[in-house]
Amino acid sequence: MRQFQGRIVTPGNAKAEAVVTHAGFNTLASLQKSLQFGDKTAKVNDQNNPELYGKPIAGKALCLPQTIGSTTGGMVLYCACAMKRQPACMLFANHIDSLAAAGAILADVWLEDISMPVIDCLGEEFLSYVKDGMTVTVGDHGVVTVE
């Protein structure tokens, strides 16, 4: 078990199974198709991300360096939250990018009864340590426990 200290972007607690990508998470390429065609598990459809391709991320602890791609990214993430198909939490090794931040903040401010804690600045060691299937807990004050 290891603990990592990050920074809270949007608050909350969560405990979920890790799904990990070491490449940038392209939000539009990953999620648009599954949101559009009723996949409640939100399987990733990004052909450029073999680590995630075909894996469901709804309710999972999505561990990533940052998001990339189209500026619809934040809107897509906001819609995933509104449709309750969002990850249980998003855990960024790097500083969060502007698109993911927008999606998480829009959901936090404009949607009711939605929780998707987002922690960033967890460090490269976090992404080296965490593996698919591990249990990740988002505690208080930006502390993330991986076991």
Partner: protein, 424 residues
Amino acid sequence: MILTQEQQEILNGSKGDTMAKVMKTLVMYGEAFGAEKLVPITGKYNHLVTSFGLGVIEPVYELMDKLIEAGAVSGQRFSVDPRPLDKNVPKNFLQNIIFKFFMYNKQDFYEEQLKKLGLMDSDAFTCACYLDQVGNKPEKGEVLSWAESSAVVYANSVLGARCNRNSGIMDIMGSIAGFVPYFGLLTDDGRKASWVVKIETTKKPEAQLLGSAIGMKVMEDVPYIVGLDKWLGTELDEQACTYLKDFGAATASNGAVGLYHVENLTPEAVEQGKKLILDGAREYVIDDAELERVKNDYPVIWKDPNAKPKLCFMGCPHMTLQQLKDWTDKVEAGLKKAGNAKVVIPTVFTAAPAVLKEFEKTPYAPRLKATGVITSYICPLMYMNNPLCAKMPVITSSNKLRTYTTARYYTDDEILLQITKGGK
């Protein structure tokens, strides 16, 4: 973050709950990036990325309704990304039904919302809003609240405007408030380069391939590109701007680039030169072999990789007037060489409605039509994002379209050969 008295009062609810939420959104957004203040937007027009009435993004329309009902509409008028549908673009019976009744069944509703929110005009649907014919071209140094990755990277890099890579919805939040948080690409420090990219190719690199290579390498960092002026020259003329339009779109979609500098060419690189490069900047050398490696690494996710292409899309981002003219010449010459009268693969060239109107006035328009090429204002990406199109073998020279759909990338020369002569 330190707010002005006016901003603080709005946050406290002086203009109602909805405006307070708009302000809270911007404050949280800024705080996530250490912004110490909100600064006024100085650009004349905004640009939004969300142009499609996709039934499934109902939450967005609900939010827009909340804004309209509260009178929280944009102080700026805006252009918006391309429409998703056009009757000119080939589609079969089933696709037609899926598009009209299932996917984009909210298109008319959403366009009404856009009008209420401040749409420039009914033709203002394009990702290349900065083209002269469209008229949303910011000045150097102007502060923007734009979204659309290809437009943001062009505005920052080629025009020297200042805009972060804002997300859809966040774009209109800034415009409604009239302020954006001051961080990242709005600041002088945020516009410094942490990568030096050296171009050492033996010929002019394909714009969309070079952009892809750089985007995948530097992700969201700012690259300072050396050696590209050898191929583009040192003047931001029509040819150079067109190249940078396509190049930038690939950097932004294959990575997350919001600004690049090209030595001796783009405005800040001309003014400041190597002073733009941060200490400890990393280096990336691109030669012919590296571009070939990048191209060969693209996955082909067609069910049958050897299938004959059924459709070709060109114009993501939208083509310029000059590109339409140049491609008319190229397609005609290619057909003549191949001994064909019309293109052998259904081919769609996409451009802004205002650009297409200008093109229709030129003698090139009937010539292009005679080759069988269809012109459209559509967004190819929106067209392709459904299971029926996903199964179609579509080819493109757009690295953005390749990234987000099942379309297969070919260079411009390869595309020309395929549509005029045929082949796999």
